[in-house]
Subunit: 210 residues, 3 copies
């Protein structure tokens, strides 16, 4: 466990927290825009910021970091309150949020895939956990709103970007044993870039061929 | 584990079972009223009676009490059968059910928060687990019915009442180290009271300020 | 753990994989027919093939076999790709799929119930885990599609068939201690038969009596 803790800390705390704040922000904003109660804003902020990691830890059968870390939940709570009171003003920064959201997708992919790798899982499971961490928060959100999960529908790359990023990381930092930090940087840039470009250009994930 | 088992038993078995029966009753009744199949009545009874505790134990990464305890599932099964055959008669006791339901919210909040506290989690996580235990069953129910989770929408205090109750318990029985039994009694009364009054008076959880 | 691994292997790997492939196939086909993106086809194939086992292992608080087994996820991935490219052709084999689907329900019921039995859970929990393993994939699918879970609605036996099968196994291979292999064969045949006949004859699970 000590080794695991040290390894996960390779991603600096500040970066980790930033990803959580942005996830919580986008979740909370959506709730505020939909006219939800304060409990709804909190819930969507929690699922946006911590939902992916929560699914990851439950699947990995390890203690849920979102609960054991004393900083994560308060951070999400404060972010939710900010969204609650300043949703109007924050909504006008959509352009910024799209960029930050893409970056978060990259970070969550890397954090998830790396944790699965440290748990000694096979390559495909590393990819699966990376994708689940990246899109898990959005899936929880869609489920609570009773709307079709975004990721099953045609639309800008989301799960697909995470899938490509996680696969790259699983191979480069796995069998090929390249050093993690540069690999992580490349994967984050690639995942975020794919997401961003697909939103801006209106790329759509391919649908089944009949 | 022995310590934990002893501590959790501070809440008498009969009270615990009563909360589960009422949760199962309200879940099963809803299913019966919606014209569900027998499997639906069972499923909603299980999620109403045991869903919150199940989410709690999965998040705490401990054995799921709903499965290890030999009495819980049979109790819920019998309750579901009662609802299945007497839903018409039971539905006419709505007033009683609203009161019992509020009491159950209080009990589940306390049972969840206490278990998180015994697991040594930080204060905010204790609050989170308390709320998740209290409203988890209702969330599972809404998800299975594909309706927007009750707790994200404006309406009578539910998650909000549990949030206030769990926060009080986390502080009083946590850092302030007051004895658990009186604290639990106060928190249950407060949570149930908030829920009950908000239903009767039509109070609504606040929505985001634009 | 060694004993557990040996015991679970009593069900031959090939049978296990066949059940997973059929589950993934029905999930992926549904996604393809609904015009989902490639990520949606993958997701529904994963939930159809591995969702039930995933819920089972999370509830049993044991490592998730879908992740630790190096063959399962690749198998599902390949199956998803086959559905993605040949959905039109596969859809015309509906009759075959209904039969295979019923068989899968039987297998998942037995695999789930047996694993719960080996974990030393009480009889009702064995039944619960058997049913959850059998219908868990379909529930995840319905939740992601934001449609009412099939199993709560009147319709052909599904959860009900699994419930009858799991109960039989829990009693025969539990307190009565009959040898597992013949019991498993009988339960699989019974569960699959109930499912198949109810689909063909239009039997419907009973609804609540008012």
């Amino acid at each position: 466990m000590d080794v695991l803790a040290v390894e996960v800390l390779r991603i600096p705390m500040a970066v980790d927290l930033a990803a959580i704040v942005i996830g919580a922000l986008t979740g909370g904003l959506l709730a505020a825009r939909e006219g939800f109660a304060v409990s709804g804003v909190l819930l969507l902020a929690v699922s946006g910021g911590l939902g992916g990691g929560l699914i990851r830890d439950v699947l990995l059968d390890v203690p849920v970091v979102a609960l054991t870390n004393p900083v994560y939940l308060p951070t999400v709570g404060i972010t939710a309150m900010v969204t609650f009171f300043f949703s109007g003003w924050l909504s006008r920064t959509t352009g910024l949020l799209v960029g930050l959201d893409a970056l978060t997708l990259g970070f969550f992919t890397v954090i998830g895939a790396q944790k699965a790798q440290l748990a000694g899982l096979p390559v495909t499971s590393v990819v699966f956990i990376g994708v689940a961490t990246a899109v898990g928060g959005a899936v929880i959100r869609d489920v609570l709103l009773a709307q079709r999960a975004d990721i099953v529908q045609p639309g800008p790359y989301n799960a697909v970007a995470a899938l490509i990023g996680a696969s790259l990381l699983a191979v480069l930092a796995g069998p090929l044993e390249l050093p993690l930090l540069p690999v992580a940087a490349v994967v984050i840039a690639l995942t975020a870039g794919l997401r961003l470009v697909s939103v801006l250009r209106g790329w759509s994930a391919p649908v089944a061929i009949d």
